[in-house]
C-alpha cells in the first residue's frame, strides 16, 4: 500500500483526443448543420411527394428511398433534425434552469426548505417518466413545443438532485467561507462562487439529458403526442414507416439509426465533460 502513497501525476502529453469522441462531435456537428441549413444537404422537398415513386427502394435519386406518399426519406430525415434538436434543446433548457434553481436553493438554504423541495423531487422521480410527460401534455395540449416542455419537466428532478449535491459540496469549501468572511451577501456568494463551481457536472448531465430528450421526444412523436403530420420529426417518421415495415424496412430503420447515433454521441460527449472535472 505504500506504493500508492506517492501521488502519481497523470502524464499529460499532446495526444489526439480519442477517436470515439471525435466521431461523436462529428455526428452532432452534422446534425446541427442539418438543423440550421437543411437546404444545403437535401435538395428535394420533405413535404411534397412525387407521384408514381411511392415506396421506392434506396437509390441514387432517393438515398433512403421514398415513403408511402412518394416523399424523399433522406430529405425528411434532414429536415426532421430541426424539429427534434429544437425540441431537445428546449427540453434540456427547461430541465437545466428549473432543476438547477431548485437544487441551488435547496442546497444553499438547507433545513426545512431543503427537506420540502427534495421530497417534491422524490415524488417526481417516483412517477414513470413517460406517464409524467403524457400527463403534462394532456394538461397543456398537443404540439411539438408542449411535448418538449413535458420532456423538460421530467428531467427537472434529475437536475435538481445533482445540482443540490454539487452545491452542498462547494458550499463547504473554504473559499466560500472566505467569501462570506470578506463581507459577501448570500446571493452574491452563490452567484460568484457556488454556482460556477457546481456547474461542471451539471453541464455533463445536460449533455446526457440532451440525448435522452431526443429519445423521449421521438417516443412521444411515435405515440402521436408530438408534432402533427406532415411535419418531419424523427419519432413521427419511425411511426409512419411502421406500416410498411414488411415491404420497406428502411423507412423505419433510417430515422431510427439517426436517433441512436445522436443519442450515443451526446452520451460520449457528456462523459468527456464529466471526465474533465478535477
Amino acid at each position: 500500500m505504500s506504493e500508492t502513497a506517492i501521488p502519481l501525476r497523470a502524464p499529460r502529453s499532446l495526444r489526439l483526443p480519442p477517436a470515439g469522441l471525435v466521431l461523436a462531435w462529428a455526428v452532432i456537428g452534422l446534425v446541427l448543420a442539418w438543423a440550421i441549413a437543411p437546404g444545403l444537404f437535401a435538395w428535394q422537398s420533405p413535404l411534397q411527394g412525387v407521384s408514381g415513386s411511392q415506396l421506392a427502394e434506396p437509390s441514387a435519386a432517393h438515398w433512403l428511398g421514398t415513403d408511402g406518399l412518394g416523399r424523399d426519406m433522406y430529405a425528411r430525415v434532414v429536415y426532421g433534425a430541426r424539429e427534434s434538436l429544437l425540441g431537445a434543446c428546449l427540453a434540456v433548457t427547461v430541465g437545466l434552469s428549473f432543476g438547477t434553481l431548485l437544487g441551488l436553493v435547496a442546497g444553499a438554504r438547507g433545513g426545512l426548505v431543503d427537506a420540502a423541495m427534495m421530497r417534491l423531487v422524490d415524488t417526481l422521480l417516483a412517477i414513470p417518466s413517460l406517464l409524467l410527460s403524457l400527463s403534462v401534455i394532456i394538461l397543456l395540449g398537443f404540439g411539438s413545443i408542449n411535448a418538449a416542455f413535458a420532456v423538460g419537466c421530467v428531467s427537472i428532478a434529475h437536475f435538481a438532485r445533482l445540482s443540490r449535491t454539487e452545491v452542498l459540496r462547494v458550499r463547504r469549501a473554504e473559499y466560500v467561507e472566505a467569501a462570506f468572511g470578506s463581507g459577501g451577501r448570500f446571493g452574491a456568494v452563490l452567484w460568484r462562487h457556488v454556482l460556477p463551481n457546481a456547474m461542471t457536472s451539471v453541464l455533463a448531465l445536460a449533455a446526457l439529458q440532451f440525448g435522452s430528450a431526443i429519445l423521449a421526444l421521438a417516443t412521444l412523436g411515435f405515440l402521436g403526442y408530438g408534432a402533427p403530420p406532415p411535419t418531419p420529426e424523427w419519432g413521427l417518421l419511425i411511426a409512419e414507416g411502421r406500416d410498411f415495415l414488411a415491404s420497406a424496412w428502411w423507412l423505419t430503420c433510417a430515422p431510427g439509426v439517426v436517433v441512436v447515433l445522436v443519442v450515443l454521441s451526446a452520451e460520449r460527449i457528456s462523459r468527456s465533460i464529466g471526465a474533465r472535472r478535477t
Binding site: 502513497a5 463581507g183 459577501g184 460568484r192 462562487h193
Partner: protein, 554 residues
C-alpha cells in the same frame, strides 16, 4: 516472492559497501511536450544504520530523488543517467515487478500525509497484514501475531483493539504510527521517510520522530529523511544533503553544516528554520496603545452526540486582551480550542457565552447586516491557501471581491487598490490575470493576505496561516506580516501549534489546552520561564531546539 531478486544484506554489510549509493543522478520530467530536468548530478550514500536528511524547499527535487530511489517516479518522470545502487546492485533499469519485490522487504516508504495514505474502509490491522501477505506470508496465525507485535512496537496499545479500528477512529499521529508499522513490518534495510511529520503538530511530530529513532536504533535500519525543515534534520540526521533546484548545494555531517554552512543557500535555510532562528527584536509597544481586542469568558460548547445533557467544551472561559498594533498568539495542539476561539473573534461562530469586543463592539451579539458590516474591521486568513481561493477566479478578481461587497467603489479606483495591494504583498502585476492554480503555495498565501487587507481591517486573525508552508516560504510570509503590521498598524491574532514560529512574530501569547488557557503573558517570559508543564512540553517539542545548539557547539 522470487528469492533471486532479493538482495543479500549480510554479504554486503561485511564488504563495507554503502547500503544505498546514489551516483550522478539526473531525472527529467516530460509534460505537455516540454521536458524539464528536475534533478541533476545528485550523489550521496547511506551506510547501514545511518540517517541522511535530504533538505530543501518545495521544488528542490528532494521528493523526486526519494521517489527515484524507491522506483516510484511518476509516469512522466525518467532517470536520464546515473545509478542507484542498493547493496551494491544498480536498480535503475529494473522493471517494476523486480522493484516491487524489493519494496517493503529491503526498502520501504513512510508517506507524508497520514490522512490519505490509509484505506478508509479497512481496519488498520488488515492493512498491516496486507504487506505481509503481499510478500508471501500465508499463515493466518503468524500474520495476526506479527500485526499485534508491530502495533505494540509502534506504541498503539491495546494492540488487539487498535487492529480492529478504522483509520478515521485514529488521530493523525496514530495513523502515522500505523504507516510506520507497515514500513518496518519486514525489517527493511532502508526506510525512506518523505516529510513524515509535516502534517502533524509539533508535539506529535516529536513523538513520531522519537519512535522512528528508537525503531531505527533497535533494528539498525538506515533512514533517508526528506524534510524542508533544517530543524528536524538537525535533531535526527547524521548527515544532511541540501538540495536546491535539483542540485546539491552542500552535503556533510549535520554538525558541520549547522555550525559552518559553506553555501549561501544552507545559510538561508538555517536562518529560515524558525526553531534555529534567533528571534528578531520586536519594537516595544507604546504604553499608550489602547486595547483593540478584548475576549472575556468566551465559552463554546457543543452537545455530545448520543449522550443527552453532556456537552463538549471546545473553548472554556477564554479571556485575553490584545493591544492595538501588537500580535497575540494562541498556541496549542489540535483540539485545544485555538481555532474555535479564532473563529469566534472573526465572527464565523457565535460563542455560547462570553464577549468578544473589537474596538468597543461586541462581535458575539452581531448578526445579519451588522455582522456583514463588521467584516470591514476583522479579517480571517485561512490555513490552507490551496482551499481558500476560488479556483475559477483570477487573482485580480479574488483581491477585488471584498471591495465589491461594500460601499460602491468606482471600477478604476478598485483596480488601483487591487494593484497597490498585490504589489504590497510582494507579487508582480502579472499574477492579476492568472488563476490560483498557476501560483505556488507561498504566492497563494500572499494573495489570501492581500484579500484580507484590501478592506483595511483593524484586526487580522491568522489561523495557522503559515503552517502549511515550507520553512523558507514561511519565513518570507512572516517577514511580510511583520512589515505590514508596522506600516498599517494592524493587530494580529496568530493561531499556531508551533511555539518556535510564535516566538518570531508575537508579542503576547496564550497557551491553550483542552479549551482552556493554561498560561499567558509576553512571549519571551513564557518562552524562558514557562510556568506550566504543558508549555514546557511544547517548548521541548520544537525541533532542533536543544539538539541543534548542542550539536553546533560541539
Amino acid at each position: 516472492m522470487d528469492s533471486a531478486v532479493r538482495l543479500n544484506p549480510a554479504a554486503t554489510a561485511a564488504s563495507g559497501t554503502p547500503l544505498l549509493a546514489v551516483e550522478d543522478l539526473a531525472i527529467r520530467y516530460v509534460s505537455g511536450g516540454a521536458s524539464r530536468r528536475v534533478v541533476e548530478d545528485v550523489s550521496f550514500s547511506i551506510a547501514p544504520g545511518e540517517v541522511v536528511a535530504l533538505v530543501g524547499e518545495s521544488g528542490s527535487g528532494k521528493t523526486t530523488t526519494a521517489q527515484a530511489v524507491l522506483g516510484l517516479l511518476p509516469a512522466n518522470g525518467m532517470i536520464e543517467r546515473g545509478a542507484i545502487r542498493l547493496d551494491g546492485t544498480d536498480i535503475t533499469g529494473w522493471s517494476d515487478r523486480r522493484l516491487s519485490a524489493l519494496r517493503g522487504t529491503r526498502m520501504s516508504l513512510i508517506p507524508q500525509d497520514p490522512t490519505t495514505s490509509l484505506n478508509p474502509v479497512r481496519t488498520v490491522g488488515s492493512q498491516i497484514a496486507e504487506i505481509l501477505q503481499i510478500h508471501g506470508e500465508r499463515d493466518r496465525g503468524r500474520i495476526r501475531a506479527r500485526v499485534l507485535e508491530l502495533l505494540a512496537r509502534v506504541g498503539l496499545e491495546p494492540a488487539e483493539m487498535r487492529a480492529q479500528q478504522y483509520p478515521h477512529q485514529l488521530s493523525g499521529g496514530m495513523r502515522q504510527r500505523v504507516l510506520i508499522a507497515i514500513a518496518v513490518a519486514l525489517r527493511p534495510g532502508l526506510i525512506v521517510a518523505d516529510e513524515p511529520t509535516s502534517a502533524l503538530d509539533v508535539t506529535v511530530q516529536r513523538r513520531v520522530l522519537d519512535l522512528l529513532d528508537d525503531l531505527r536504533r533497535e533494528d539498525g535500519t538506515a533512514v533517508l529523511l526528506v524534510t524542508h525543515d533544517l530543524g528536524v534534520a538537525a535533531d535526527r540526521a547524521d548527515r544532511v544533503v541540501v538540495l536546491r533546484q535539483g542540485r546539491i548545494q552542500e552535503a556533510g555531517p549535520v554538525r558541520q553544516v549547522l555550525a559552518a554552512p559553506r553555501s549561501d543557500y544552507a545559510r538561508q535555510l538555517l536562518a529560515d528554520a524558525p526553531s534555529l532562528a534567533t528571534p528578531r527584536a520586536r519594537p516595544a509597544v507604546p504604553a499608550t496603545a489602547g486595547v483593540m481586542l478584548k475576549v472575556a469568558g468566551l465559552t463554546q460548547t457543543y452537545p455530545v452526540v448520543g449522550e443527552r445533557g453532556r456537552v463538549f467544551r471546545a473553548a472554556d472561559d477564554v479571556s485575553f486582551e490584545v493591544r492595538a498594533g501588537t500580535t497575540h498568539a494562541l498556541v496549542g495542539e489540535s483540539g485545544s480550542g485555538k481555532t474555535t476561539t479564532a473563529r469566534c473573534i472573526a465572527g464565523f461562530l457565535r460563542p455560547t457565552s462570553g464577549t468578544v469586543e473589537v474596538g468597543g463592539t461586541d462581535v458575539a451579539r452581531l448578526s445579519g447586516e451588522q455582522l456583514r458590516q463588521f467584516r470591514h474591521k476583522v479579517q480571517l486568513v485561512f490555513q490552507n491557501p490551496f482551499a481558500s481561493l476560488d479556483p475559477r477566479q483570477t487573482i485580480g478578481q479574488i483581491v477585488e471581491e471584498p471591495l465589491r461587497n461594500f460601499d460602491p467603489v468606482p471600477k478604476a479606483e478598485r483596480e488601483h487598490r487591487v494593484r497597490a495591494m498585490i504589489g504590497r504583498v510582494g507579487l508582480p502585476d502579472s499574477v492579476l490575470g492568472r488563476p490560483p492554480a498557476a501560483l505556488s503555495g507561498g504566492q497563494r498565501q500572499r494573495v489570501a493576505i492581500a484579500r484580507a487587507l484590501v478592506l483595511k481591517p483593524r484586526v487580522v486573525v491568522l489561523d495557522e496561516a503559515v503552517s502549511a508552508l515550507d520553512v523558507t516560504v514561511q519565513a518570507r510570509i512572516l517577514e511580510l506580516l511583520d512589515e505590514l503590521q508596522r506600516e498599517l498598524g494592524l493587530t494580529y491574532v496568530f493561531v499556531s501549534h508551533d511555539l518556535a514560529v510564535v516566538r518570531l512574530i508575537a508579542d503576547t501569547v496564550s497557551v491553550m489546552r483542552a479549551g482552556q488557557v493554561v498560561e499567558s503573558g509576553p512571549v519571551e517570559t513564557v518562552f524562558h520561564a514557562p510556568a506550566h508543564d504543558y508549555t514546557r512540553d511544547l517548548i521541548a517539542a520544537i525541533p532542533g531546539g536543544g539538539g541543534a545548539a548542542g550539536k553546533a557547539a560541539q
